[in-house]
């Protein structure tokens, strides 16, 4: 409590009663606590309770109606031993992560550097154009992608055929479905990543680049030795957000292939949805916490690998 606050509190009536002492102890006003309490109530209602309830439910078998039946760890055992679907979905998500996240992050960084260039004409137009896919509805993207990538009549294959390449089963072939989703995601999210990177780039002092130039550093060296180290935190943030996005990817496979062909595009997020769709709510809850564990482990690993050792030492 500040001195000013204490003095003000001391002047208020009721100073000698226990209510007055309590109020003074709080700093002279209930208002901050009432404001904070509303947040805690909302948090408890819409975050803590659902999470707690889902955790409780993960130990029950429940189809949404009727009494839940306790099953112990059965839901966790089921999911962990479901090699042909759950682990396949984790593998698919890992594949998508490898194909999307590094390219999206570093692609976004390079795009940001390019559109941040002072000499580039029409910077605003480029920035808007690259960012635009990020604001298009996923439903629209899903419908259009399904038409564009269709094997027999899709425009992508029509283009390939025009240049003498055989049609590809983008969405029908188990080998091609994941690369197709990677392409769609890169197209949609690289521009979004670029905007995040751009915000970071604009916080780097121009004097650093000027000093480097005086010392004889070229564009590439400046990028490697100034931009990348100073963008470390933003890069790390983008990597973690991208990782979570990959494991939670749902709308694209749901709208375009429903996880097919033969579960080749079944992501972890879609697996979770399917459990709910099958009215296996306990199993879906268990899947949620297992996915949380996976994402937490990957994110912690990234934080560990990407930590700033110089800051840690100081």
């Amino acid at each position: 409590m500040s001195t000013h606050g204490a003095a003000a509190a001391a002047q208020r009536p009721g100073r000698g009663t226990w209510i007055g002492r309590f109020r003074a102890w709080l700093g002279g006003s209930y208002a901050p606590y009432i404001f904070l309490l509303s947040w805690f109530l909302a948090f408890a209602a819409f975050m803590a309770y659902p999470i707690g309830y889902a955790l409780w439910l993960s130990f029950y078998s429940w189809r949404g109606v009727g009494p839940p039946e306790p099953v112990g760890l059965e839901n966790y055992v089921y999911v962990l031993t479901d090699v042909s679907t759950f682990w396949l979905s984790i593998g698919n998500s890992a594949y998508l992560w490898a194909a999307i996240v590094p390219a999206q992050t570093f692609g976004g960084l390079i795009l940001a550097v390019v559109v941040n260039g002072a000499r580039l004409r029409g910077r605003g137009l480029f920035r808007t154009t690259f960012f635009l896919p990020g604001v298009i509805s996923l439903v629209v993207i899903g419908v259009v992608a399904r038409i564009m990538f269709e094997r027999s009549n899709g425009v992508v294959n029509a283009f390939l055929e025009a240049v003498g390449i055989s049609p590809i089963g983008w969405l029908e072939d188990t080998d091609w479905s994941k690369p197709t989703f990677a392409l769609i995601s890169l197209w949609r999210y690289t521009g979004y990543t670029m905007v995040l990177m751009l915000a970071g780039l604009q916080n780097i002092s121009i004097e650093l680049y000027e000093a480097a130039r005086v010392d004889g550093a070229g564009t590439v060296r400046s990028f490697v030795h100034i931009t990348v180290p100073l963008m470390r935190r933003i890069i790390l943030f983008c990597l973690i957000i991208g990782t979570i996005g990959c494991f939670q990817m749902f709308a694209e496979p749901y709208l375009i292939t429903q996880g097919g062909p033969q579960n080749s595009s079944l992501t972890a997020g879609l697996y979770l949805f399917n459990q709910m769709g099958n009215a296996r709510l306990g199993r879906a809850s268990a899947t949620t916490f297992l996915l949380l564990a996976v994402m937490l482990a990957v994110s912690l690993l990234m934080l560990r690998v990407g930590r700033d050792t110089s800051e840690a030492k100081s």
């Binding site: 009727g66 399904r146 429903q258």
Partner: protein, 496 residues
């Protein structure tokens, strides 16, 4: 002794904890609890046949959700149709006593049927106002509403396969529907009956026929009326392929796993075998399924199949471009085709499904849906009155069938078929009397059709193995063994 010191941070934490606990407690009180089954209706509806003025009551008191429907006599309405069904019911004729309402969730594709019947119902029951809503993702929304027990519609669409999952939240209609049981297509009532109790009113059935492109068959010199066996069909497919220079194929080997499961089952169910029998035993290794799978494998190997996903632009374009000529499918296919293939008006025809052996079964079912009333619905008696009229009277059904855009929705209520309506030609199908064909198949559907409570899960699993076979990555034997092994591992209720 000094006063105990409470640190401000500790107090804040305490406030937060108390707040959280109180909110959790309050919400927990709203959490779904074991729901006791409400007492069954105290009185069975009076049989309609001997006394046309008697019927199950149509929602006398919307305020009492647990009130049992009564069988109070009602005066016959002067608007009773003179061409009524053999056993006219009072719901069709008598206005409800008390004013009330009912909310009906009818998804797009079903809404025009339900609204047409609703209009007729409200004309006869001016005291009951029906409100129709067509929410997207209706099954998930309904499941959520059933779980929460709030914002429930009084009547909702469900697929037959969902009834065994959600039955504990649905109103037990056993007593109400009993007088009509003998007039229903038998399996339709059985698949919405769980542990001896009926939880919904069957709507349509899915009699399957074989659709074909008239123009391409004529060009290839193929007479579909002469295709009596699947061997004949294979020969016709070769002929069509040759006549079109390899452009046209025989069948679409369905690309969607879920739809493929239903589609493959259609072939085996012609001979009375479903994927699961009533003991939930998996039937994939029966001779009927082996024969069906071998046939489809032959189609693939002979390069007579295309691969498209049901109800997608590519699917309809394949028909438009003549890439596929024959399409064994359910009656409700006719609901989807005219709006998507206007250019082919008059170019489709239909015949009965071929048999696997001469004289073998040609009737199969695919899909089907039902209408349920939630146990906790506010106006469930009104909902029942409406469903009774719409689904269990001839007048209700004729109102649906005459709705604009009506096609391929075949009643589960047999007396509804006793009408000249089923003789009418269907313009889109070249003036063919398609309703009559569908009706003939519907009336002879095998009674062995069965969906176990785990159907939706099993469907996805099995469908993926079928997909692998259609892609040439698995043999018939591998599909049978692998799907059985996966079901055994994942669905403990399935008998393998």
């Amino acid at each position: 002794m000094g006063a105990p010191v409470i640190r401000r941070r500790a107090l804040l934490q305490s406030i937060a904890s108390v707040g959280a606990v109180s909110v959790i407690g309050a919400l927990a009180a709203c959490a779904p609890a074991p729901t006791p089954t409400p007492p069954p209706p105290t009185k069975a509806p009076a049989p309609a046949a001997p006394a046309p003025t008697q019927a199950p009551a149509a929602a006398p008191k919307p305020a009492a959700p647990t009130a049992a429907p009564t069988a109070a006599p009602k005066p016959a309405a002067p608007t009773a149709a003179p061409t009524a069904a053999p056993k006219p019911t009072v719901a069709a004729q008598a206005p409800a006593k008390a004013p009330g309402e009912a909310i009906v969730w009818a998804p797009v594709g079903t809404d025009h049927y339900m609204k047409a019947a609703g209009k007729e119902f409200m004309a006869r029951n001016p005291n009951i106002k029906l409100t129709f809503d067509a929410p997207g993702g209706i099954i998930n929304k309904y499941a959520t509403a059933l779980t929460a027990g709030v914002d429930l519609p009084d009547v909702s669409f469900l697929f037959d396969t969902h009834v065994p999952i959600y039955y504990q939240g649905l109103w037990d209609l056993t007593t109400l529907i009993k007088p009509y049981a003998k007039d229903m297509i038998a399996f339709k009532l059985q698949i919405v009956t769980v542990q001896g109790k009926t939880y919904s009113v069957p709507w349509d059935t899915g009699p399957c026929v074989m659709y074909y492109r008239r123009d391409i068959c004529a060009k290839a010199g193929v007479d579909p009326e002469k295709i009596l066996t699947y061997d004949d069909l294979l020969a016709a497919g070769q002929k069509v392929k040759e006549a079109t220079g390899g452009k046209s194929r025989l069948l679409n080997l369905e690309q969607s796993p879920v739809t493929a499961t239903n589609w493959v089952e259609m072939f085996a169910s012609q001979d009375g075998v479903s994927l699961f029998n009533r003991e939930n035993k998996y039937q994939i290794k029966t001779p009927e399924f082996t024969r069906a799978l071998n046939y489809l494998e032959t189609v693939r190997k002979s390069d007579l199949g295309i691969r498209r996903t049901w109800n997608t632009p590519a699917y309809f374009k394949a028909f438009l471009d003549g890439e596929v000529v024959f399409h064994p499918y359910a009656s409700w296919w006719a609901n989807f085709v005219p709006p998507n293939l206007k250019e082919l008006n008059g170019q489709f025809g239909a015949v009965k499904l071929p048999a696997f052996v001469k004289g073998g079964g040609t009737s199969a079912n695919m899909g089907g849906s039902t209408w349920a009333i939630a146990q906790k619905a506010k106006n469930r008696e009104n909902g029942w009155a409406y469903l009774e009229f719409a689904m269990l009277t001839k007048e209700g059904w004729l109102a649906q069938l005459r709705a604009e855009g009506s096609a391929g929705v075949l009643p589960s209520y047999i007396p509804a078929y006793d009408d000249p309506f089923f003789e009418r030609p269907v313009e889109f199908f070249g003036g063919q009397k398609l309703w009559k064909l569908w009706m003939e198949v519907a009336k002879s559907l095998p009674s062995t059709v069965w969906f176990p409570p785990f159907w939706s899960e099993a469907n996805g699993i099995i469908g993926n193995h079928f997909q692998a076979m259609f892609d040439g990555k698995k043999t018939v034997e591998q599909v049978q063994n692998d799907s059985a092994a996966e079901l055994k591992q994942k669905i403990k209720e399935a008998v393998i």
